[in-house]
Symmetry: C2
Subunit: 137 residues, 2 copies
Amino acid sequence: MKKLSRRLFLGNTTALSLAGFFGLMPAADKSKQNKKGDFVHHVYFWLKNPESAADKAKLIEGLTTLKKIKPIRLARIGEPASTNRDVIERGYQVSWLLFFDNLEDQEVYQKHPVHLKFVENYSNLWDKVIVYDSVDV
Amino acid sequence: MKKLSRRLFLGNTTALSLAGFFGLMPAADKSKQNKKGDFVHHVYFWLKNPESAADKAKLIEGLTTLKKIKPIRLARIGEPASTNRDVIERGYQVSWLLFFDNLEDQEVYQKHPVHLKFVENYSNLWDKVIVYDSVDV
């Protein structure tokens, strides 16, 4: 049922709407739940020219091209927030957060021609990337 | 309109359902969109005893208590995936990913009694945390 709900949720607006309409899917609660087995891919980019607004904009342009890759469930492009405590890493310039249904979908993304093209065209912009891949416990 | 849609989406199942039913809100597309101004708080924990399944379970228990804090929009507890490349950081044991509507909501969370209690009761378990706070570009 949980799995089915998610599929409806992401793939079928009408079914979702009907389920919601009849009180079967409290959206607010669902949004906080872990989705077992899902895959979180979070990449942080350190630019070669960290002060260059142009380079940052270019990287963001490149990441935006990736959003169309099919199995991506959620994609967010971020930059460091204004928070500043000892434990907070603020040295990166761009954050790239993706959700996938599973490891296999993430591999489809990695090998996708659009992704390979992105690496080819934009990797000259960054000095370092750190990737955190995690799965729900 | 964008802001309104989000509020409906998260807070009002019936309105969402009706909007979706009449084709106003394509859920599948929405799920991939950036939500301007939103706040992503991602914490990675390195345990003092990285091999201890008991300590990891205890930390997960503690994080689970935090999920009820009101302004949290999404909460996910993760562990490193099986992926293994040079750029992937796999040294941490637990990932804690939260979405908030904005910086202010994240501050409510930081100062919430349940959060302070969590730090008091569970911080002995970890050796290091790294926090990445980001906002959508």
